[in-house]
């Protein structure tokens, strides 16, 4: 125990040494800060321009991230939060903890973006990923009628899981319960998070797994493996737009704004595609990395506005739970 | 003098009354039918059981409120008299210093105790490497270094053969005589009592009877003893 205290003391001592530079603390999800995520490069690139120290703090996932900020409340240590998505924006806004920062950029989103508080930094389509040599259903109804096996994530514990819930609701509205009932026998299992689901799919437990249209890009670019494909559904694929925002309680408002400007700049945006494996919110000058042009692009995109998403969320969850608990 | 003054021991349905005096320096056998409370009497004197009523005095000082370890006595139980993970020497040393390291002088005392019980050179062995008789000797060596004024024996040699048991009792008798110790020993066997105890306490009918001269008691036994002796 004594050694632990000493170790803890040493840790706080090392962070104190750097304290003469101004500090910007950004809360984000854990995979962003991991050594394979955008975090290390983002830190290096921003610190090269800002004369400051950028502290990236990882919190499990987007939903846990928002919970952390709510838990800390007005005197949160965070200056900026990066990693919420449209399903969380309404709840985030309602806390009153976030401040406007009016960042503007030439967003390359499939939808129009107007929000003075939440700045998009990347986006993607949810999609079912499958082995390219198999055939994919064209929509949810075809999927439900087939004996294709899928693995999905639980909307209560996973961002893609919640995305799928919204996807079916956006595409089918009041018909959503029937769609879920039809899908019930296709669902091999429901996992806590994306990693379990994707891992099981790679082991062959299912024909398809809920992920992103950009997932095949990872296999193609990082592993030179073109065997994975993502299915475009003709109802449209639901969008995920990930956003960053400044906290009202920040003691570094200028630096926070500077970071948000940086987020929509080329320096940040060119890091995103091959580290976060999402589409950049603003297409970098050099364009998308080679391989992204091979990705499936759905013809239609679906997205609830933050307010709509908040309004339908609980009912959609109840329908999902009900249909899959039979 | 050990005095049990109007003592009442209760344990569930079991009761035992004792109102007896034992002269210092005598060896007393405690004899009686199985289940009459011989061991209970000893355990009470040692402090492992509470008195319901009465008090115990040693040399006119009340000892019945003392912690068992603070009473002026050493006790050997039916079994478990040695710590199996400690060597003979370490076990004996506990009699001198239960809580600390030995001085040079005390180490010598341990060695001479080992010599006295005829186990020279076996001090480094653990109990499992010793025979039953040797284990008893180690326990006696510890009692020896404890230098307590009273020694309580709750049939510690019951598991030994007759010859070995006699040998141990003789050793006890010698040690007790050398150190002027008061001895109380539970026994089943009139031979044991005759062998080393001048006096005998009969425990029967819920009463610990006052000590009687051993020879006389066995020559002219009261009815309850006669029944026991068969």
């Amino acid at each position: 125990m004594k050694h632990l205290l000493i170790a803890a003391g040493l840790l706080s001592a090392t962070s104190a040494i750097a304290a003469d530079k101004s500090q910007l603390t950004v809360y984000t999800y854990d995979s962003f800060v991991s050594d394979w995520g955008p975090g290390p490069q983002v830190k290096e690139a921003f610190e090269a321009t800002c004369e400051c120290e950028l502290n990236l703090v990882g919190v499990e996932d987007g939903a846990a991230l928002l919970s952390r900020v709510r838990l800390e409340g007005e005197n949160s240590d965070a200056d900026v939060v990066l990693g919420l998505d449209t399903n969380l924006i309404a709840a985030a806004r309602e806390t009153g903890l976030f401040a406007p920062s009016s960042i503007s950029a030439d967003f390359a989103l499939p939808i129009e973006w107007k929000d003075d508080t939440f700045t998009p930094y990347d986006w993607g389509y949810f999609a079912f990923v499958y082995n390219a040599d198999a055939s994919a259903p064209a929509n949810f109804k075809e999927l439900a009628d087939s004996d294709t096996k899928i693995i999905i994530q639980d909307p209560r514990s996973s961002t893609p899981g919640l995305g799928l819930l919204m996807w079916v609701k956006a595409a089918y509205g009041d018909e959503a319960p029937e769609i879920w009932a039809g899908l019930a026998d296709n669902i091999v299992t429901v996992t806590k998070g994306w990693s379990e689901a994707y891992g099981l799919f790679l082991e062959g437990e299912s024909d398809m797994v809920l992920s992103y249209t950009t997932s095949p890009a990872y296999h193609l670019i990082a592993e030179e493996d073109a065997s994975k494909a993502a299915a475009a559904f003709d109802e449209g694929n639901y969008l995920q737009v990930e956003v960053a925002a400044k906290l009202a309680g920040t003691d570094q408002p200028e630096l926070a704004d500077q970071f948000l400007e940086f987020v929509v700049s080329d320096a940040f945006q060119q890091i995103i595609p091959t580290t976060n494996w999402m589409y950049p919110a603003v297409t970098p000058a050099a364009g998308l990395p080679e391989g992204f042009e091979t990705l499936t692009v759905p013809e239609n995109s679906l997205l609830f506005s933050p307010d709509e998403a908040a309004a339908v969320r609980d009912q959609a969850l109840a329908e999902w739970q009900n249909a899959l608990s039979q | 003098m050990l005095k049990l003054d109007d003592c009442l021991i209760k344990n569930g349905n079991f009761t035992l009354r004792a109102n007896i005096q034992i002269e210092a320096g005598t060896s007393v056998a405690i004899i009686g039918p199985s289940g009459a409370g011989k061991s209970t009497l000893l355990e009470t004197i040692a402090g492992f059981r509470d008195l319901k009523r009465g008090q115990i005095f040693w040399k006119h000082k009340c000892v019945s409120n003392l912690h068992p370890g603070k009473r002026p006595l050493a006790m050997l139980f039916q079994d478990g008299n040695l710590f199996p993970h400690l060597t003979a020497e370490q076990n004996i040393a506990l009699g001198l210093r239960p809580n600390g390291r030995l001085s040079k002088d005390e180490e010598t005392q341990v060695q001479s105790a080992l010599d006295r019980v005829a186990l020279p050179g076996l001090g480094g062995r653990r109990p499992s490497e010793l025979s039953g008789g040797q284990q008893s000797r180690v326990a006696l060596a510890r009692v020896l270094v404890q230098r307590r004024e009273i020694l309580l024996l709750d049939e510690p040699f019951a598991a030994l053969g007759p010859a070995l048991k006699a040998e141990m009792l003789d050793l006890v008798a010698d040690l007790v005589a050398e150190s002027d110790t008061t001895l109380l020993m539970v026994s089943h066997d009139p031979q044991d009592a005759r062998r080393i105890a001048q006096q005998t306490v009969l425990v029967a009918d819920e009463i610990a009877h006052p000590p009687a001269v051993t020879e006389q008691l066995f020559e002219n036994p009261p009815p309850s003893l006669r029944e026991y002796l068969g």
Partner: protein, 515 residues
């Protein structure tokens, strides 16, 4: 007064128990007090409660029922590799959940080894997802633990008993009735309660193997209350419910498992004369080994390639994990030993109870509560490692107590009177008699604690600092970054480290276990 004389003081143990209770209940209170509004229990929560109770009860029953014949077979047979097998059987228990799930499904899944084998004969794949899958997975995790606990009790039966029974001409069945059944009746309620409580807090395993939202456990409902609804009041309420269920189970277990130790026996390797039926014993050992080792084999096979692809930070994380495990083990022993001593002096069931609560405490609630409590005083992130070590110790405490308490009770019964009559101090008895006499159990508990801490994701994820990661966290990060192969390598490394720590510590105290 004299009757209350005890060779060892209960107070340090009571203090340790109070500390643990404060940690568990204090963090719960911190969460509850931080709550703004709460919606109370919903019908879905009641469904979760029902499912949780069903799966925990079934999992506990099956784990214990199967552990008895396996432990009996292992206690009776001496064969080459027995020690290694016993150590290996402990492995599933210490695997990180996600690794264990992948390993299990590689064997039992739709496209697992068994289904592939069935496919060769034109048979359909087995259906693993459902309540039976949940129970199977919990069996995989808990059968080894239950077996070890029962085996330990078996080996603590003094050899003299078996000799006596053999002398009386007892056959296997009579020997069982005479010696083994009383031992089992004494120990099984406790083992049942432990496994029940472990399964109570299952989340990812129950959900994945259960095949969907019908397999929602209370722990998932707590997670949902935290992150999905941000309803701290409901999270605290659900967590309190979980604690209450565990307390009930623990109380029942304590009530039924009262009884004395097995009396005096000298240290001697156990030899038995009942013979039994070697084929039946072989059957149980082989079945258990196959069931437990196949998924482990799949972890090893899929990890092997990844072992050479792991980036350097994985090894740094491994080092961090080793340090955390060492600290956690030290804290564990500092808490568990005085607590075991206190329980051994009797009438301190409340101490044991407070130890068992660690099983049912939701890591999410403890972590969040600690976060709320620490934040006004210090930056929680800088305390990530000490906090992780502390929480891991509290989580391993129930197992340590189950291992230590019977042994401590036995030592106090056997040697307490002698120590008192020698006027041995309570501290001396603790250091010179209790600790050395309990060495095998202490080493077993330490090994288990170190291995558990190594494999546990614990609360580090809540406090995470990008610079400091434990190995389980790094494995999750690798998976989150599509690096499944490197993650599999990390999992194998973790398995090796956990087993290594366990083997090293447990070996330090092996006694009786050898032929």
């Amino acid at each position: 007064m004299a009757e209350r004389a005890q060779p060892v003081s209960p107070w340090p143990g009571i203090g340790a128990a109070a500390l643990v209770a404060t940690l568990i209940l204090g963090t719960l209170a911190a969460v509850a007090l931080r709550a703004e509004t709460s919606s109370g229990f919903s019908p879905a929560d009641w469904a979760a409660l029902k499912f949780t109770l069903t799966q925990s009860t079934l999992s506990a029953l099956f784990s214990v029922l199967l552990a008895v014949p396996v432990a009996r077979a292992l206690a009776r047979r001496r064969f080459r590799g027995r020690r290694a097998l016993i150590a290996l059987l402990g492995a599933p228990f210490i695997l990180p959940v996600i690794v264990a799930i992948l390993g299990l499904l590689q064997v039992f899944g739709r496209s697992g080894w068994i289904s592939d084998l069935l496919g060769l004969f034109g048979l359909p794949p087995i259906r693993i997802y459902g309540l039976h899958g949940v129970v199977l997975a919990h069996l995989f995790f808990n059968l080894p633990l239950a077996t070890r606990l029962v085996l330990q009790a078996w080996q603590e039966i003094p050899a003299e008993r078996f000799r006596l029974a053999a002398q009386l001409g007892c056959n296997g069945a009579a020997m069982f009735r005479l010696i083994e059944l009383p031992m089992l009746l004494r120990i099984l309620p406790g083992v049942l309660a432990v496994v029940f409580a472990i399964c109570l807090t299952s989340f990812a395993v129950a959900l994945t193997l259960g095949g969907g939202p019908r397999a929602t456990t209370i722990e998932l409902a707590i997670y949902q209350a935290f992150t999905y609804d941000f309803d701290l009041g409901r999270a605290a309420l659900l967590s309190a419910l979980q604690l209450a269920l565990t307390a009930v189970a623990a109380f029942a277990a304590l009530k039924f498992s009262r009884g004395d130790g097995f009396g005096t026996g000298l240290d001697r390797a156990i030899r038995r004369w009942d013979g039994g039926t070697p084929t039946l014993d072989a059957f149980w050992i082989l079945t258990a080994a196959t069931f437990l080792l196949l998924p482990l084999a799949s972890v090893v096979i899929s990890g092997f390639a990844g072992l050479f692809e792991m980036p350097a930070m994985v090894f740094r994380a491994a080092l961090t994990s080793i340090i955390v495990a060492a600290a956690s083990t030290a804290i564990l022993l500092l808490l568990a030993l005085p607590m075991a001593a206190a329980v051994a002096t009797g009438r301190y069931g409340i101490v044991e109870l407070s130890g068992i609560l660690g099983l049912a405490a939701s890591p999410l609630v403890i972590g969040t509560g600690l976060f709320i409590l620490i934040r006004p005083l210090a930056n929680p992130t800088t305390l990530a490692l000490p906090v992780t070590a502390l929480v891991n110790a509290a989580m391993a405490l129930p197992f340590a107590l189950r291992i230590l308490v019977p042994a401590a009770r036995d030592v106090v019964t056997r040697h307490g009177r002698l120590a008192i009559s020698l006027d041995m101090g309570k501290g001396t008895f603790f250091a010179r008699v209790l600790l050395p006499r309990m060495r095998p159990q202490i080493c077993f508990a330490a090994g288990l604690g170190a291995a558990l801490s190594m494999g546990d994701l614990g609360v580090i994820a809540l406090f995470a600092d990008p610079q400091i990661a434990t190995l389980p966290l790094q494995i999750y990060r690798l998976m989150g970054a599509y690096q499944m192969q490197a993650a599999a390598g990390g999992a194998l490394l973790l398995l090796l480290l956990s087993m290594g720590a366990f083997w090293l510590l447990d070996r330090g105290g092996r006694w009786h276990a050898e032929a």
